[in-house]
Amino acid sequence: MSTPQEAASAKDGSMIKQKEMIAGHFSALTRAKAEGKKVVYTFVPGNITELLLAFDVLPVYPEINALQSGMRKKSGAYIAEAERLGHSEDVCTYVKCDIGMLKSGNFGPTGEKLPEPDLLLLSYTGCFTFMKWFELLKREYDCPVAMMHVPYQGDGVFTPEMRDYVVAQLRTEVVPALEALTGKKLDEAKLSEALARSRVAEDDLVAVLESAKRRPSPIDAYFGGVYYIGPIFTSFRGTEAAVDYYRTLRAEVDERVRLGLGPLTPDGAITHEKYRLVIEGPPNWTNFQEFWKMFSSEGAVVVASSYTKVGGVYDNGFRHDPERPLETLAEYCAGCYTNLNLPTRIDMLSRYVREYEADGLLINSVKSCNSFSAGQLLILREVEARTGVPGGFIETDLVDPRYFSAANIKNRIESYLQMIEQKRRNASTRAHAATPTVAPPRPAKKLEVLR
């Protein structure tokens, strides 16, 4: 670990920039009504921020509010409030956290009251719950709803018919709703300019994420990764600020590579990378730092994760295309991680294990999210079988503190890392015993679920 001074000085660059961007956004939201700016509530996966920028409206992401509430230890009370109002204990806690926050005054992450929406933009990508979430919000606010249904890639492809369907909805539902809201016509040139900026930032984000292929990895692509995706998955994609942020971030990461440094954590840098992991599933937010420490203290670095693809998969080559503004938005929405079918997710995670030379795949299965979680045990088995690395399985929740049992989770992570260690030892014993001319394929391993 580095000294606290080093850790603090590392905060001076991109992190501070991001903090300022977020603070600026929330302060703009606070002033929105007074300044006559329109506010649109929408979702992270399948967000069409560039279009919102073209209309000069301000987005609010209820999911982000929920995760921020989790990090600020407020989610437990919000969820309790929603359950008191009749929301089932069985359903997604993001929804309940948001409803609870709303019923408790709707004070956002900065402690200031969030403005009410002028439009609910229901981008239905990758998760069925979104639709129900906005049906609930619709009752709370007297504002229109624009629905944009993005078909699921059930057969692993986004067909031209699907794309045309989404584009038609943009043309007939979403753009007219934004035009009616703002009294402005869509400025296609402005939209294309934003999309061009998205592209630049996307290139830099991919470079940052792929830096984890190096040894040691200069980043943690999960716990650190969630910070890196913040601007591009939310209100800032398509802005000059995002371009600047990702340029700075990339330069910082390049510098860490040059110096051979490991990832930064809240407790300093990891100086000895012992385990390289791929993680599938969202993180827990209520005990985020504690959770991270369970890995970093063991020298476990996450080199790739699926969660950092929920708001867009860019490492497969997708970039927003300013020449085809509406089509590119449709393709972006369809390509978000949870809109991909299970075979595609298995392929992607197996590829990560191989390309990032990971020692294992760990699944953090969150109770809230059927979109992610249903089928994860099959994903685990398949990735293990294809790559030969051991899989591990832990269960938490996004923002419900009742489902974060620290001692239990720590135990499981430790046993999982021991399993990797054991496997390494066995491999090196075998290597000493016999030196084959051709490396044998890694054996498929039996499903080992850490419960």
């Binding site: 109002l85 009749g86 929301h87 089932s88 069985d90 359903v91 997604c92 929804v95 229901l122 239905y124 998760c127 069925f128 719950t129 639709m131 129900k132 979430w133 049906e135 609930l136 619709k138 009752r139 629905m147 249904h149 078909p151 699921y152 059930g154 057969d155 067909t159 018919e161 699907m162 045309d164 369907y165 038609a168 909805q169 007939t172 539902e173 079918n341 299970l342 075979p343 997710r345 298995i346 299965s365 109770k367 059927n370 979109s371 979680s373 249903a374 089928g375 994860q376 045990l377 099959l378 398949e382 269960e395 499903l447």
Partner: protein, 399 residues
């Protein structure tokens, strides 16, 4: 036809016979009726589909038997299924996997997973991995109801599905056959419509569990046979002159996917509730009314979906809110209260429950809510809850 009193308990009555046949199908977890159909049709193929809605006409027109799959319904022991799903996921995917892994679905050549929730959606991908030799397709349905937008998209999905199904069966695609299939399913929906009307007017003649069995039989029987079964049941039930009880008239809502055990449905009635409308086996009643039998048949199916689908949790409600259709259903069926029955861990049903409850409250319509799972074995608590609910409705209506 004879009624129960006349039969004197000697020979089974006509209604008992129809119900017994339907009940045998309900318990047919091995799908032996499907095997018999295949044998009788020179080994023709069969395609399974999950709730809520698939256009069965397409499977039928491709010369195959559509087979509705509704989980284990508490009749299979889950051994392997639990290894595939976390504890916080509902039962139906577990029992469905169990049935498949134990070979009970081996005689099905294809599987359709319609858009209903993220669990069924992801199950389609699991199927692709676990059963690569089968035809597997996720069927997305539009949440946009503009005929030129959602209608066009659904039309293109249906065309590609029909082409796939014809490739699977070896039949040449044919509009003529499609129109003939639509006509048969229109007949079927009309018969079911008559049964629903009878239930709404004389619920004592057609107990909810019998109605459910009659609907369920449509999962397995060829469409003409199912229509005949429903018609026979209506005639027999009418003739049976069953006694009218002082039960409360309720709508049962939330059971559109994982099905409540038969015993639970029986329990509601024994506890004093006449179920006058419900959403169990909703796909049997989808769309509402006939599909056009002239012109482009695929466009006709898409149009019917866009304009005449029943309101349910899996469909976006563009106008008003989700509570309004339930209130309308209560009014239309002259119900006195609503039983909100949702499968445990069912996001679509449970997420909207506060909306439904609020809408019912605003209309001063009484409701009660509970969760179930398809393998529930104890009904005492629900019986007491439903009994208290029925009593309170009666007291309320007398006050």
């Amino acid at each position: 036809m004879t009624n129960e009193a006349e039969s004197g308990g000697a020979a089974p009555s006509a209604v008992d016979e129809v119900v017994a046949r339907a009940e045998a199908l309900y318990h047919d977890v091995e799908l032996s009726s499907v095997q018999r159909w295949r044998d009788a049709h020179g080994g023709a193929k069969a395609v399974g589909y999950m709730p809520i809605y698939v256009p069965r006409e397409l499977i039928h027109a491709a010369g195959m038997l559509p087979v509705g799959l509704m989980g284990g319904r508490g009749q299979v022991e889950i051994i392997r299924g639990d290894a595939w799903f976390q504890s916080y996921i509902c039962q139906i995917p577990r029992s469905t996997i169990e049935l498949a892994l134990t070979g009970r679905y081996a005689l099905l050549d294809g599987f359709l997973f319609p858009s209903i929730c993220d669990v069924i959606r992801n199950l389609s991908g699991m199927w692709k991995v676990l059963f690569p030799e089968k035809y597997v397709r996720y069927l997305d349905v539009p949440q946009n109801y503009d005929p030129d937008v959602g209608g066009r998209f659904f039309g293109s999905e249906l065309r590609s599905l029909y082409a796939d199904l014809c490739a699977l069966s070896g039949e040449a695609p044919s509009d003529e056959r499609l129109r003939a299939s639509i006509a048969l399913y229109n007949d079927n929906r009309r018969s079911i419509g008559r049964l629903m009307e009878l239930r709404a007017t004389e619920p004592w003649s057609v107990p909810a569990w019998e109605v459910y069995l009659a609907l369920y039989a449509g999962n397995l029987l060829p469409v003409e046979e199912h229509t005949a079964l429903v018609d026979a049941y209506i005639a027999a039930a009418r003739a049976a002159s069953r006694p009218r009880r002082d039960n409360a008239r309720v709508v049962l809502s939330g059971a559109f996917c994982e099905q409540p055990p038969l015993e639970l449905i029986r329990t509601l009635e024994l506890a004093g509730c006449y179920v006058v409308a419900d959403d169990m086996a909703l796909g049997r009643r989808w769309p509402e009314g006939d599909i056009e039998v002239t012109g482009d048949p695929i466009a006709a199916i898409a149009e019917a979906f866009i304009t005449r689908s029943p309101a349910t949790a899996a469909r976006y409600e563009p106008h008003g809110d989700r509570g309004a259709p339930l209130v309308q259903l209560v009014r239309k069926s002259h119900a006195e209260g609503v039983v909100l029955a949702a499968p445990s861990f069912c996001d679509p049903a449970l997420l909207e429950q506060p909306i439904l409850q609020d809408s019912l409250d605003k209309e001063r319509l009484p409701w009660t809510a509970f969760k179930y799972s398809e393998n529930l074995g104890q009904f005492q608590v629900i019986r007491e809850q439903a009994g208290t609910f029925a009593d309170s409705i009666k007291l309320w209506s007398e006050a």
